[in-house]
Amino acid sequence: MLSCLCGSIFTTKSQGARGNFKSFSVNKKRFGGEIRQINRMKTILYIIQKEFLQIFRDKMMLPIIFVIPIFQLLILAHTATFEIKYVDMGIIDLDQSVSSRALVQKFEASPFFKINARSFSLEKLSDEMQDARIEQILYIPADFSEQLEKKFPVKIQLITDAVDGAAAGLMSAYALNIIKDYNKSLLMESKSVASSIKTIDTRTSYWYNPDLDYKTFMIPGILVLLVSIIGLFLSGLNIVKEKEIGTIEQLNVTPIRKHHFIIGKLTPFWFIAMFDLFFGLAIAKFVFDIPIIGSIGLIASVASIYLVLVLGIGLFISTLADTQQQAMFIAWFFVMIFILLSGLFMPVENMPDWAQAINILNPIAYFIDFMRMVMLKGAQMADVMYHIISITIYAIISISLATWRYKKVV
């Protein structure tokens, strides 16, 4: 049914185009070039119209294209933080003296540590940690105050649940800081040394994002992800769908030139993705209050090239696959790699060199970096020249590759 319908729409439109051509043919010799040009434009416009109709005829598509990305942006922007709000801690204080309580007190006073369990048995708290109910155990031995009074160093134990290694590193650093403070106060008490301790004052300032608000960082990135995924998936499924249903053959016998066909196919997706991007930017600005320091014009122009690049990759995938299922798997394969290696969730510097090298081919990495630099740091065109050139070259390569493959296949 579906293929029939779109086929018939298509033929009427192209007949219309040919009809117009005939009526102009009187002046064919004089205005031949001009007419051909107008005609070409018309063909493309008809294809674009047909594509738009086809996309929006499916009632599910509208929410998929417009509602889901916006919804995801609103929700997911809040998820991406490594910041640790609190640690569930268990304390074993075998000493129960004034000094051991003073140490425990320091942990209690910190908003960062929630003392959830107290016990005299390490075994019991270990069980709690085994079931992930507490994340850290502080163990104070029975001879704690005795040793301190004798002016001996005394060992305490700090056990951290390290299933999540990154979080464990931070949790243990926080706890060690508190212990360090306690040590300092011990030192200060003994007057003889207090005057000769050299201290380094560390003053930290955070540029571009003084409150360390991770949403400022994540939203431009997540927006780029959403726009890229939608562009890649839509264009990736497109031609292969015609192939699978068989309508590609009908298209091939029409007098449309291949590159007109590609322009006509991709333009609607380009507009959809562009719309999503700018709608997302508006949300970033007005809902999340994210600064857009750099020029909107610069963002718009680079975004328009970037989308050609993404759509080109999608189209290329589409020409490689036999079925929509395959196209989707291939697209998904690349999207996963692009997302996780882009540096949005995990800094690129931490990755091994070969993985960083893969990022040379990662369009998402370029564009996220570009968006952040322009939006958050107010980078000028000269600052992001590298990104612009890379994206442009990549766009040319991807779209020519796709066109070439398409011609070869069909």
């Binding site: 380094i200 994002n209 360390l212 400022t216 929509q324 995990m346």
Partner: protein, 365 residues
């Protein structure tokens, strides 16, 4: 029923290219991500502005650079060019050592080191600053003579379950979950939507096979294939990444099977909602991909999210499976501590199957 199953198997195995994609992609991804994704900090580009250039400052700089965390990108002489270096993204941190650093330390016992961080990535910035502070702290200890006869607490730290703080422990469970979830959901949703789109569903519907049988027949081959894929991934985690499987392997496999069935049921549900392959795919990929990465606790701990999102994460099946895998593989827990999560996934399965049977239309529009 039996013949129907045979037909489904035949249909899947005939399509060699899809088969390669089906098994090849997860393997490549697990390998790639297992090796590439690391949370351990390494080679952060920094700049140093040393305004004093004396014994102590040189000692401090040496200490910073010789750590594997930092790479000295620029040695600045004046404050000029700082802004540009940051804006171009060449450096992530600038360490400013004040003038007369050694003198101030000797005479006043106090000197200032200023850290300026590019906080446009706040997650990274706070980690970088905490690493730098740790180095400064140990430098402080070094320049102070050891105090004999002064009471001190010496903390002994122990990292339980993952003493080397390897990030593989974090990523392998996450990647397995996402791959199983998306691949399974996508495969079934597509296979049913395809029958609809090609019109062969009509043929099935007029046959004496019941709707529930059609659904079961559709799912069964994929259960087996996803399960094989799960085993391959686990095998790689074990051999290539030396991920321990502390707990019971049989339990782990059984839980994986349950999760696969859940994902497939979700796929069926999607296909009954979607009218075409395209919408089915976009729904199962686009709507599921980012949420299952971000709301499952795969990369970002759920505990730190706003409370509302913690509730939202409850309805994300991957979250529960990530907990299960970590409990069995890393903590070595038995069924007693994961029965709740298992029950939840089982609940999801029943829910999705129930919904799809209800929505499955016997008549065509």
């Amino acid at each position: 029923m039996k013949n129907f199953l045979i037909k489904e198997f035949l249909q899947i195995f005939r399509d060699k290219r899809t088969l390669i994609i089906l098994f090849g992609i997860p393997i490549v991804q697990v390998l790639l991500f297992g090796f590439a994704l690391k949370n351990e900090m390494r080679d952060v580009p920094i700049a140093i502005l040393d305004q004093s250039k004396d014994e102590y400052s040189r000692q401090l700089i040496h200490k910073i650079i010789s750590s594997e965390y930092f790479v000295l990108q620029e040695n600045l002489d004046s404050e000029k060019g700082i802004e540009e270096a940051f804006r171009k993204g060449k450096i992530k941190e600038l360490i400013v050592i004040e003038s007369n650093f050694a003198e101030k330390l000797e005479k006043e016992n106090r000197a200032v080191v200023q850290l300026i961080l590019d906080a446009s990535n706040p997650n990274e910035a706070s980690v970088i600053s905490s690493y730098t502070t740790a180095i400064l702290n140990s430098f402080e200890r070094e320049i102070n003579p050891s105090f004999a006869g002064v009471p001190m607490i010496i903390p002994e730290t122990q990292m339980r379950f993952n003493p080397e703080l390897r990030s593989v422990f974090m990523f392998v469970p996450g990647v397995i979950t996402i791959i199983l979830m998306l691949v399974s959901a996508m495969m079934t949703s597509i296979s049913i939507a395809r029958e609809k789109e090609l019109g062969t569903m009509e043929v099935l519907l007029v046959s004496p096979v019941k709707p529930i049988q059609i659904i079961l027949g559709k799912v069964f081959p994929y259960v087996i294939m996803s399960f094989i894929s799960a085993i391959i991934i686990l095998l790689m985690a074990f051999t290539v990444f030396e991920m321990p499987i502390v707990g019971n392997l049989v339990l782990l496999l059984a839980e994986s099977l349950l999760f696969i069935v859940m994902a497939l049921a979700l796929g069926i549900f999607i296909s009954t909602v979607a009218n075409s392959q395209q919408t089915a795919m976009l729904l199962s990929m686009f709507a599921l991909l980012l949420p299952s990465i971000l709301l499952s606790g795969f990369i970002f701990p759920i505990k730190n999210m706003p409370v509302i999102l913690q509730y939202v994460s409850q309805i994300m099946p991957p979250k529960w499976f990530v907990i299960i895998i970590k409990n069995i593989m890393i903590r070595g827990n038995d069924f007693g501590s994961i029965w709740k999560e298992t029950l939840i996934i089982f609940g999801f399965t029943v829910f999705f199957i129930g919904l799809s049977v209800k929505k499955f239309k016997i008549r065509l529009e």
